[in-house]
Symmetry: C2
Subunit: 386 residues, 2 copies
Amino acid sequence: MKAFEWYNPTRIVLGTNSIAQLSKFLPKDSKVLMLYGGGSIKSNGVYESVMQALEGYSVDEFGGIEANPTYETLMKALEVIKSKNIDFLLAVGGGSVIDGTKFLSSAALYTGDNPWDILKKGIRTEVGMPFGTVLTLPATGSEMNSGAVITNKSTSEKLGMGGPGLFPQFSLLNPEVIKSLPKRQLQNGIVDAMTHVLEQYCTYPVGADLQDRIAESILKSLIYQAPKILHEPYDETVASNFMYCCTMALNGQIQKGVPTDWATHMIGHELTSKFDIDHARTLAIVMPQLYRFKFEAKKEKLAQLAERVFDITEGSTEVKATKAIEALEKFYDKIEMPHRLSDYTKGYEDIDQQVKSIFEARNWRGIGERKDINPDDVAKILRMTY
Amino acid sequence: MKAFEWYNPTRIVLGTNSIAQLSKFLPKDSKVLMLYGGGSIKSNGVYESVMQALEGYSVDEFGGIEANPTYETLMKALEVIKSKNIDFLLAVGGGSVIDGTKFLSSAALYTGDNPWDILKKGIRTEVGMPFGTVLTLPATGSEMNSGAVITNKSTSEKLGMGGPGLFPQFSLLNPEVIKSLPKRQLQNGIVDAMTHVLEQYCTYPVGADLQDRIAESILKSLIYQAPKILHEPYDETVASNFMYCCTMALNGQIQKGVPTDWATHMIGHELTSKFDIDHARTLAIVMPQLYRFKFEAKKEKLAQLAERVFDITEGSTEVKATKAIEALEKFYDKIEMPHRLSDYTKGYEDIDQQVKSIFEARNWRGIGERKDINPDDVAKILRMTY
């Protein structure tokens, strides 16, 4: 196990009554800007619940934060923050709204000329404007971590940012939000959370026994909840477990003391960028093939995954590791998540060379837990996904 | 799963280099009081490491905090805090030193006449004097929670206290502290941490799938590390896993959304009080018999424990549950931890009636997850431990 530092001050409030408790966590004299996305919160009752909980507060609103939130949209919200003297941000939405709010938390207190520099120059946010979240879409884990990804449309860049100032002060998780989510988004949430765990787990063994077991716990719980979430009537306990799994998958805990990969995410981002394929679906396309390509380097952890998560106990390390990749694909099949690039798009034949060029242009010489997947390898992995 | 709120802002720094990083987390102009116990830190090198890391700070010392820290000793430390204008406390020790420091954190800012009222009247500490810890004995989990237990010698009371102001700001965990610990304390640490998990796990099922699996992860990891910790040469990875398990066993996470028991602890405390038996050993004496006594109420979770932790998969719920209790006792045997009251003391024959009277005098009508273990039941459980 590597040495590690673990710090996460976000308060998680999970339960059907969580939104009603909002005023317990929000200072009374706050000037609140409530941020949201495309307006689904107005049809599923969340908007009304939040507004009711905000009674007595000074509240402004900013809607229309898109999936893969853009710098251009967020700069309009920043104007509202400044003109209305906002001092507390409340994200009501999924990962995109929360990520956008993290950018605003940082940008609102940024003293430089150009807030895009926070991302472009990799400026760590030590202190941001305080914010909380009301989560409407379990998937990204953004509700309990300090990272965000923002897209600049004018420069075609999609960059990450973070820092200890970007933990939400609180996140309110009402399992009932599951009820109104379309199947497609639930499938995405399941695969997004699973992939988060695997990016932090499926590398090489370092003897981090407890972290491994907790990662396996989240995977087993997700696999157990998934068919219930997708095919059975709403159940509060199942929905609560699912939300909690998604949060735990990327709150930093299972990452402590272990190597992490994230190559699947880095390649997947380019498929979203080029073909507008949902983020989670790009992960299902890339991950199994990346695991086949890096089989030798990952086979020990893949075999452990087979044994402990998929109950595949027979055979050599290689046999079990191979079966783990197949079990992952069978799981995608079971939840009806297509996982070939050709299931989603046409005209992908030269995407391998396109993405290779992008990685080269960014000077990304190596990605993955050993930084040994080079742009040529990325092209090979992508050809395996066709 | 029950609704829950989870908040834990303590920063955990785990690794052989953790103590050297102290100044990263301690404000430069702090007036520090370093608190410790019987002086073992002066023979194992921890005192020197801490003093070196504190170079440049204003530092006073207070040693001599005893196991089961007493109000009487701590009131002397409080005088030092006041006379020296201390504004940061640094606990260097195990659970007793950390618990004592939590009391001081609260008492230093308490405006009432009598600091014992914090415990006697159950006053929640919203804000305490900031403090950090350097952990020298993995066991209690006090390094990452906001609770403490303090003994008042003059009134023979042992009471708990807590509140959001009592989370350590940071806890530095150097696995090398394991090297100098006597076997007895290592055994105690293993059983203390296991019992913490079981008090929060072995109740009745509420469908908290992820919490259950994480609790099982900690148990499996402890069972795996225990013989290595006790019988093999020092290994940094094993020691790190063991320390992390002890912290995770009582940092609040696995308690969220589930019922909790704690009856074993409440009965065990009286055995420590009457016979001066080590805290962890009283838990090994009480827990298996309490589980036999409450078999019907606990059998579902006991059977789950059997299946998932002890790999006992054959038989009915009752058979598996029975075997889980036996497996727990076999584990105590394996780590050479005696678990009958008669292994530790003589003159225990009327302890059942004595403890019954104590519980009655405190008006404790019922303990355990359903508050249905009455003083008569406590007497029966104790007779089973003879």
